[in-house]
């Protein structure tokens, strides 16, 4: 009989910890334009390779190349750049507001702006996103007012959610943005149900589900893929792989799977992997998956490969678990700079215009912030009445809540 050695638990570790030299040599980056663009009715088996590659449009020189290029006009790209710059500026101002004590909490998108800003532009009115807390670009790209966003963050008198929700957990039915929950992954399976409802009612609207790399480990992720696959729900299943779930590197959630996109293949769902810092590539794959869903061809899984440049939230310090310079070493660069360079290369933008746009955007964000602050912040000025606390638990207030409201004296 062979000798039996004791077993040992395998716990994945990131390649580098604080103090180390950032190393992304394991991230295999194909050349821009190298990945083919299949027809939208292609089955998952025929495009298996796409779950292990990275669809990219912008090359090192800032040119748009390959079969996924050529979908956006100069104006559309300038709009996209403006959306991303607005989101980045808004993040910076709200981060500052949190440090100044005007709100309790904030979460920024630094480095991930292309994913939500570009995806939103591929949707049609009436479609519904089921976002996480890190897709405010969906709101900005759909024209949601910055003032209202800031009012929600300040929980002030104009907060559309009446002070009931933590900052950044926005909700706007009108803008196709489902109410964000603090409970991870719950919205992923709800998106599938919303899409099933659209199919049941013979509607033409589709749903988009959003999740981070870490939350793919939640059971609702798996439930969502089973239901999406079984009922061929018209849904785009988005995974934003920013490498980090708070302090936990993506390998803890991914395990032995080569990629997160590969998870889709086991469910028979076509899966794409895309450069999340490439605005044009994100838009192109979103268009492809949305077309599939709207043609009743079923769900698509998309993994956006990106990097969480900022802290997880205002309550987090990444220097405790990863090298401070890691984001500089990220091989897919910065989405704003890459689109800017592309527009300049196209002759549709310039350094001067960019500086001017930066100044204009900062001015408009500060103006929105000031307007929001005029309606109050968390600890000063007006805020929603305590009476609001009792409203909306049910459509009609039941007797026991009426009694409690009376006891509260509001």
């Amino acid at each position: 009989m062979a000798e039996v050695t004791p077993l040992a638990l395998h716990v994945p570790e990131p390649a580098v910890r604080p103090g180390g030299v950032p190393d992304f040599s394991s991230v295999k980056i194909p050349k821009a334009g190298a990945v083919p663009r299949p027809d939208v009715d292609t089955g998952s088996e025929a495009i298996r390779d796409l779950a292990f590659s990275i669809i990219r449009v912008l090359n090192r020189e800032g040119e748009a190349v390959g079969p996924w290029a050529g979908l956006l006009s100069d104006d559309e790209l300038r709009d996209g750049l403006r959306d991303m710059m607005t989101l980045r500026t808004f993040d910076a101002r709200m981060l500052l507001s949190q440090r100044q004590g005007k709100t309790s909490f904030y979460m920024q998108h630094l480095g991930e702006e292309a994913v939500s800003c570009a995806f939103q532009k591929a949707l049609a009115p009436g479609d519904m996103n089921f976002p996480t807390y890190r897709q405010a670009g969906l709101l900005i790209a759909s024209g949601y007012p910055l003032v209202t966003m800031a009012c929600q963050i300040y929980s002030n008198a104009r907060d559309p959610l009446k002070g009931r929700q933590l900052p950044v957990l926005y909700s706007s039915k009108e803008h196709g943005f489902f109410t964000v929950s603090g409970n991870l992954a719950t919205q992923y399976v709800q998106a599938v149900g919303w899409a099933m409802a659209s199919a049941i009612r013979r509607d033409t609207k589709i749903a988009a589900a959003w999740i981070g790399d870490g939350s793919t480990a939640e059971s609702d992720f798996h439930a969502a893929l089973v239901f999406a696959s079984t009922y061929k729900a018209p849904v785009v299943l988005n995974i934003v792989n920013n490498q980090w779930a708070i302090s936990t590197f993506q390998g803890i959630a991914r395990g032995g799977a080569g990629t997160f996109a590969a998870r889709g293949l086991g469910f028979g769902i076509p899966a794409l992997r895309v450069d999340g810092n490439d605005y044009l590539a994100v838009y192109a794959v979103a268009k492809w998956a949305i077309a599939r869903a709207r043609s009743n061809l079923g769900p698509t899984l998309i993994e956006y490969v990106t990097y969480r440049v900022g802290a997880h939230s205002t309550s987090d310090d990444p220097s405790a678990y990863r090298p401070k310079t890691e984001s500089d070493a990220w091989p897919l660069g910065d989405p704003v700079i890459r689109l800017k360079n592309h527009l300049i290369r196209r002759g549709a933008w310039s350094e001067e215009r960019h500086k001017q746009a930066e100044a204009e955007i900062l001015e408009s964000v500060i103006a929105a912030q000031k307007e929001a602050e005029s309606f109050g912040t968390l600890h000063s000025g007006s805020r929603p009445s305590a009476r609001e606390m009792f409203e909306g638990v049910y459509a009609e207030m039941p007797p026991h809540l009426l009694r409690q409201r009376q006891q509260a004296g509001v």
């Binding site: 039915k173 719950t186 409802a197 909306g392």
Partner: protein
């Protein structure tokens, strides 16, 4: 009026609502082609098609999670969890999502959803086919929790639940599906057809949620009960000769405090009974409410008869189930106190 068992009344309620409202959809494990392991959805798929009534994967969080999304879209899903004992994988979706959509979105998104689930013991169901988890739902703001005790109520309350704009947990005592049960397991079971409450109106009729009914009027002591225990209480009253006023709560949240207070003010005594385990059970809430609102009327401590604080056993079914003997003792002690 047609005579219906509880299973037939529940099926009829869904049939009526599916015919009236295109947005009503019914799904769950084995719910579609087969018609449900308890036959509650039998024939619905044939009548309304696979897009209105269909089989679901074995995933409770998937069933409730997709239903929340459907409700947010504007449908009225009426989904089934095969046994209440198996609702726990869906608990996050129920507590964190269904119950809070309206509140957290300030009414932008709502959740007109019904989650049906067979509940309760008395059937040798052992640990995972006998539980009564209602207190896990009554503790959650934003949910309504309903437990019918007869076919008439089951139909009227289920129609009201489907029409309600908020999520409703609809617990069906499976011991009552085919006939009333008073805890006398040694006697043969009688079918619903021999019981007045099996006279169920055809077509649409709804009973208000949040309203209790008086199952037996009396003056000696008030019994607060729901589900199977309503029938147990009636047996205990008959056997002791105590003139108990038995209140069938029907809806646990929102509860009908006015009916409870009026009764205890009259009788001065109160016994709370349920199958669920005692500690932190819904009976604790009822006892506290009666103490707060009826303190000066009370002539005896509020008594509770409940399942023991153990998992639901198999062989010891009748030692565990709070039968008429245990309820009768509590009635006598409370009246003589």
């Amino acid at each position: 009026m047609p005579r219906m068992s509880m299973v037939e009344a529940i099926r009829d309620a869904m049939d009526v609502m599916m015919a009236r409202d295109e947005s009503v959809v019914v799904f769950g494990e084995d719910v579609g082609y087969f018609g449900g392991v308890f036959r509650c959805t039998y024939g619905l798929q044939q009548k309304y098609g696979t897009s209105r009534c269909f089989d679901a994967p074995v995933s409770e969080s998937g069933i409730v999670g997709t239903a929340v999304g459907m409700a947010a879209y504007g449908l009225r899903p009426c989904v089934e969890i095969q046994f209440a004992d198996y609702v726990y994988p869906a608990y996050d979706q129920i507590v964190s999502e269904a119950a809070r959509l309206r509140y957290r979105s300030n009414g932008e998104f709502t959740c007109p959803l019904v989650i049906r689930m067979p509940t309760g013991g008395g059937i040798f169901g052992g640990q995972t086919h006998s539980q009564s988890p209602e207190a896990l739902f009554t503790h959650v703001s934003g949910l309504k929790t309903v437990v019918p005790s007869n076919p008439y109520d089951a139909k009227g309350l289920l129609i009201a639940a489907i029409e309600d704009p908020d999520p409703v947990i609809f617990l069906e005592p499976k011991r009552l599906y085919n006939g009333p049960f008073d805890g006398h397991h040694e006697r043969p079971v009688t079918p619903w057809s021999k019981h007045a409450a099996s006279d169920v109106p055809a077509g649409h009729f709804a009973l208000p949620l949040g309203k209790a009914s008086i199952a037996r009027a009396g003056t000696d002591v008030t019994v607060l009960a729901y589900g199977t225990m309503v029938h147990v209480a009636q047996a205990a009253a008959a056997e002791t000769g105590i003139d108990a006023e038995i209140i069938d709560l029907r809806t646990l949240v929102p509860y009908d405090l006015d009916t409870m207070v009026a009764s205890v003010a009259k009788t001065g005594r109160c016994v709370v009974i349920h199958e669920a385990t005692l500690t932190s059970g819904f009976g604790a809430e009822l006892a506290a409410l009666i103490q707060e609102t009826c303190f000066y009327h009370l002539e005896a401590p509020v008594a509770r008869v409940a399942g023991w604080d153990t998992p639901y056993p198999h062989a010891q079914e009748w030692d565990y189930f709070p039968g008429p003997g245990r309820v009768a003792r509590a009635l006598v002690e409370t009246v003589e106190a």
